[in-house]
Symmetry: D2
Subunit: 478 residues, 4 copies
Amino acid sequence: MNQRQCGLARDDKPHEKCAVMGVYGTPNAARYAYYGLYALQHRGQESSGIVSCEDKRFYKHIDMGLVPDVFSNPKDLERLKGNCAVGHNRYSTTGQTHLVNAQPLVVSSYIGPMAIAHNGNFVNSGELRNQLEKQGSLFQTTTDTEIVLHLITKSKHEKIIDKIKDAFATVKGAYSIVLLIDGKLYAVRDPNGVRPLCIGKKGETTIVASESCALDIIEAEYLRQVEPGEIIEIDDQGIHSYRLDETAERSACIFEFIYFSRPDSRIFGEKVDKARRRLGKALAVEGEVEADIVISVPDSSNTAALGYAQASGIKFEIGLIRNHYIGRTFIHPDQSMRDFNVRIKFNTVKGVLKDKRVILVEDSIVRGTTLRKLARLIRDAGAKEIHVRVSSPPIRFPCFYGMDFPTKEELIADKLDVDQIRDYLGVDSLKYLSIDGLLNSVPHERGGYCTACFSGKYPIKFDDQFKKFQLDNGIVTE
Amino acid sequence: MNQRQCGLARDDKPHEKCAVMGVYGTPNAARYAYYGLYALQHRGQESSGIVSCEDKRFYKHIDMGLVPDVFSNPKDLERLKGNCAVGHNRYSTTGQTHLVNAQPLVVSSYIGPMAIAHNGNFVNSGELRNQLEKQGSLFQTTTDTEIVLHLITKSKHEKIIDKIKDAFATVKGAYSIVLLIDGKLYAVRDPNGVRPLCIGKKGETTIVASESCALDIIEAEYLRQVEPGEIIEIDDQGIHSYRLDETAERSACIFEFIYFSRPDSRIFGEKVDKARRRLGKALAVEGEVEADIVISVPDSSNTAALGYAQASGIKFEIGLIRNHYIGRTFIHPDQSMRDFNVRIKFNTVKGVLKDKRVILVEDSIVRGTTLRKLARLIRDAGAKEIHVRVSSPPIRFPCFYGMDFPTKEELIADKLDVDQIRDYLGVDSLKYLSIDGLLNSVPHERGGYCTACFSGKYPIKFDDQFKKFQLDNGIVTE
Amino acid sequence: MNQRQCGLARDDKPHEKCAVMGVYGTPNAARYAYYGLYALQHRGQESSGIVSCEDKRFYKHIDMGLVPDVFSNPKDLERLKGNCAVGHNRYSTTGQTHLVNAQPLVVSSYIGPMAIAHNGNFVNSGELRNQLEKQGSLFQTTTDTEIVLHLITKSKHEKIIDKIKDAFATVKGAYSIVLLIDGKLYAVRDPNGVRPLCIGKKGETTIVASESCALDIIEAEYLRQVEPGEIIEIDDQGIHSYRLDETAERSACIFEFIYFSRPDSRIFGEKVDKARRRLGKALAVEGEVEADIVISVPDSSNTAALGYAQASGIKFEIGLIRNHYIGRTFIHPDQSMRDFNVRIKFNTVKGVLKDKRVILVEDSIVRGTTLRKLARLIRDAGAKEIHVRVSSPPIRFPCFYGMDFPTKEELIADKLDVDQIRDYLGVDSLKYLSIDGLLNSVPHERGGYCTACFSGKYPIKFDDQFKKFQLDNGIVTE
Amino acid sequence: MNQRQCGLARDDKPHEKCAVMGVYGTPNAARYAYYGLYALQHRGQESSGIVSCEDKRFYKHIDMGLVPDVFSNPKDLERLKGNCAVGHNRYSTTGQTHLVNAQPLVVSSYIGPMAIAHNGNFVNSGELRNQLEKQGSLFQTTTDTEIVLHLITKSKHEKIIDKIKDAFATVKGAYSIVLLIDGKLYAVRDPNGVRPLCIGKKGETTIVASESCALDIIEAEYLRQVEPGEIIEIDDQGIHSYRLDETAERSACIFEFIYFSRPDSRIFGEKVDKARRRLGKALAVEGEVEADIVISVPDSSNTAALGYAQASGIKFEIGLIRNHYIGRTFIHPDQSMRDFNVRIKFNTVKGVLKDKRVILVEDSIVRGTTLRKLARLIRDAGAKEIHVRVSSPPIRFPCFYGMDFPTKEELIADKLDVDQIRDYLGVDSLKYLSIDGLLNSVPHERGGYCTACFSGKYPIKFDDQFKKFQLDNGIVTE
């Protein structure tokens, strides 16, 4: 399962930035949003929030923390009245994130109150913000999400749907967005379709969610994905579909298949589990090696490891046990305990590993620090050989479309070649899945993928100064 | 992995009652106890506590909650000065447990202050308590643990070790106990050796723990188990071993292999993972059935399921995803959502289950309510057939040695036969592992096992009125 | 002392709406703001916040609660870096106030970030907000304070001071405001000078505060008040004074002398204690009655009662003891205990009251419910006669300039004449100070006063629909 | 009012050690105890607790903190079922006090469960504890209170009342105690009657409380005090009175009149307010001085200051304003702000003090540090002369009967004579009330007083090693 627990040893993983939920057509709207956000916890653990709407009054509850902590009091949910709601989980980082940036964002305007929740990143946010500020707009947050609300309000069009189209014709980037305006729920995906967003039904109720596992938990039925460049409008008359004028080749984030999404979800209309197993199988072909057992780094690499074992005929074993009780406030030891950061999270099953040639399947490597310690643990448990197999290519480029890597300098594959990484990890062999192997393993019926973090080929263009501007202005992107 | 998360759907599992830790010979004593308790979190989630000792002064920090929550402030640990410490996790129940019963227990006496932590249950606690009260003893808790301290103090012997022997000659039952008295650490196991307790070394430091995974986290080396009927005394001169006069046939709790202990632990001197896999293999032989895939109820049944798959040659798959974010205060829906209790914890991987004949491996069944809902979820995901295979026999008798079942009336196997249980679960077939199959799968080099919960054969005798007395007097046993 | 504790029996008092603090010229800026807000706690108990500024970066800490609770962690203050800061306390009410409305308010704009804290109320906020929204402005709060920031940003003037002038030429009403813009601290008072605001110095540091008691706590020297219609700009060059173009007759809120301000403060350039004592003396003349003792409703009426005793020659006694431990979460009894709300806060000193003719001095009456219960307590303690003397006239009109009364319907003097109120209170006689007596007691060197709540004469004009608009739109005024 | 707020500037005051409450004969027993403890908050701010009894089941809620914080959740009270209850407030100190020592104390014994709450101190606790421990008794706390429960249980008598008599024949010292045993409520005062304890009635309900203000808050009627050496037994048949065999001359703690008790209370059968006013009057005679105004250190010296003003004919004024919002966690400034500890709590009213010759009435001086800073503040406010008048004699001896002074070395009157103290305080003159003046001011109808802290004459004898033992063994006395 694709589960990243809070607080520890996440330095070897990129961070997904946010989950969104929208519910329309039930007095349980906020409640369903809550359960959905709970199922989407893996996409963001820093803050969580829900805004509901009843008769143009908005109700809002947002706080820092995990979903069950933010909504620990049943009254918090009861206060969120109304038959529609939007919700948001925000990812966790140590940096400059604060309650004020937590979403959904609510503003008051002449259209009435508006709420927005966003998963993604606008690549022209800097210039748009500059323009808007020069026109006298005030910003309450440092998120790029707020820009959308200003653009909607500034639009000269009469009808709200046209204002929304206007706004999304202006922003560029990767975005899966839900909006509450004038008693209606809107769901929008960018023309490239980078981030996932799907629609489900539970009786008369319509649900929009980042991944389908949020539908399962409330026993809703999966309908379809929101298409790239589509604007969905949901009201009492049903679901209406509009198109953004701009078209673009689909560039779905391939990392969603590799690591982000839960294996029990559908994204981009496809089953994650199936794709992830195929990654493992392809890896078994590309990274063949003689060994006694295949183990995974639990839980996110379990499915790929199983695929590897099945394709290679080598026995799948549970060689690492993961401790799920980790809380936010773990007290760390002094320097005397080497590898403690990893030990607090993982333990080896010595009977499984002793005297064995071990294939260790990992879904991705960012910095490599955790994996290095894990390898040491496995070696200490008596493994004779360790062969690391990674079910994705080396990560060498930053993501500007909503995924949070450390800086380029911290990406191990930016500095070292595969042999050097192998030596750094202290393992006997290391193989990454090739970009071709990766692309051949994921479904292509619905279009292509963004592989920028591996290939450096960025499907959505941005100004060179974009990232610089972001950093200089301390702008946080969703 | 043997992980029982807080708050939900535990009605299908027995509850282990407590973990103990003891550390001697380092200024980091409390800190090591803390990490050890953290690794032993699965044995008790209700309360946690540590008592340390410096120059006959005792320092104590105990509270309700998980280990990281109880010790959320680094100062809590810093205050626990001294080079020896004992610690305790208590299991979680809804009943009459309170902070006052949380352990370690500390008293002041003419020997000086004493601290105790206990995993187990005394079967003669009622009469002992009565006797002591009649002699004018006051009790501060409703636990049976406190009796030991009274008995030690009442002993006429001069030397502390003889007082301790005296006390343990009087109590009967199952116990793994750590004591801090007069600057020394003691570890005691009952003559039958029902509950596990092991010893480890990290440099000059000696550690005593319920399971060896608590040694791994602090990079200590596994030495051996404390033997049944052995009293270990640890001071600056080293480790001294004494024997209780009473001898008994070893009756180790076989449930530790089935479910309680972590698969990466050693207990009773043996590797849990290895035994648990053999249970799965034996089950594959006894419970053979034609099917397409083997899945487990994660995480506690993973190892047995893997064993089943290996022995049967049927493919192991991940068909259920478990959500580990569950907090203590989850807000529940109204009645409209059937099976919500299970959905909040598990989701099905539809691509794995659809149109498949599924073998579902579970380690044990207590009430059956959760498993029934899980079966329904699996069916909803499209499984053609569901064959439940349980890697232990039907639980039909209460445990008086420290394991917490619901009342006999709530044990499904007490009321229904296997066919009826199958019908209740709504599955196509159901097979339990036989008692013989169970006994043949676990190591016997070191002696026999207690199978009372399956067989009704209680190796340690108790008065008929014992349980009645317990219930009538609201006595909580450790 | 003018102290209104949290949570109980405030129904007999109007609520001041907020305190403001500004500090410039010391690395201790946030720290001084904190101590000042602490001294101004009586002006607002709902929320507290500070925004500091270092090199155009803003640091913000705001939360619901009393000042010591909001800033309970020293790190909260340490994070507020920079040599200038503004702070705000918000009054407590049960209504629709939320964290989002807590101040200081921060926005980002093309001028850079701006922070504002406000004590008062704009009477044309409704139309201004409407106009701004129609121009596409988004609002993040429901406070009228936010309007100022929009107006500053929209101003066509080049220089910031001119933008600020522009903005305050547009808003009408009562306001004492502090602003942080472009590394400078601004302090503004409305042309009528309704709310107090004063300036102090501590070495090189300049402090602006609602009342001078906030200067005393940090050992700063009182300089002068900010004049009505004055804009103060504070930077490294010193204090610069500008004037709003509009002029108006001074209409200082006379209630500040009666009840709001602390007796140890200076407001409007005058000592509160002195004025308040003169109110008591005037009341002794107007409300002469034969009696044995004068007692006050502690603590806010102490000074007036002392004045009454001195002028009348009747002995001042302490007949009521006030409990200051009241917390926010007091558990209330069922109906069986009559007058409990008052008993929890006050107790009678029976030896003082028994068989005495008692003059009870109270500063003001809003609903009369608490005073009625107090009279009953005093009667129960054996008082022969009770003569209530109120050191202000009957409150009969709402305040639109920043004071929070209950609705007009709840004002007892709106429904009942003085004799009827006396009967309602169950006392032997009741006298209010006359408006003339009130005006003759306060200093007039610096101009006139607003007595609208007593006389209905509103010095600042507003549209009839103003209040209606406020209510309809749920707008909260500062 | 006799109010000592938490956390600051208490170094000039002795600390009362605890309040006790007992309620019998109403399903509201715990609720009444709660309100009573709330009224008695000034006698102890560290911890608060209530134990109730229903059908021999005990319910307990105890925690660190103020009464409203300990009982912040209405459910905490609802859980405390039954028609009788005992309660306790414990004083606040920085030392070695912990939750485990918080009262009421509950134990289980062959008599059934017992609960005890204690205000006072046993002077033979060391030897008693030694004896009991040697007999094998275990102690759960470091309080001397626990000894009583052991003695009751050890008594050879048959009837409970005889066991209680037996126990109190053994302990020596000052004690006002409430006990819950076998469904009955007991109240006991030591033969010397050092600490106060009174009885009240509310319908069929009997209430026992340290001071009568706890009766007032629940509208109960004051009946009488529990007499020195009396044991009160309360059950369904009513109130039964027994006598301890030992008799002694009454030695009521005279400090209760000077400072501890609330002025609206009766203690030892007498009105505190009346006695305290007479102290002020006597002080006016003994400490006559020409001056313009009399002010008090609020709130505890208000009544004495009023008495002084009345007797001297010098005008009473409010020259110091006290801030009651002080919380537990105030963040302190660095060294730069001299006298901050006092400024955070007090401010001067400059208009009152400027150019005046000021008599400052204070009830007692322990260390003198706060008073010294206060004098400096008053001087800074422009006072021409400061004459300190203390309504009690110099404190020169420790109290062994339940009052908590700093060590003898820290008592300023132990080191300095009156002239030296005057110089230390930096005031123009200093006069203490003489012991004779003190004794002549308090009522003598019911017997004599303990003046040990002033005179060194200890009415209850104790072994020389008593205090040493206490200190050496870290024993905390109630």
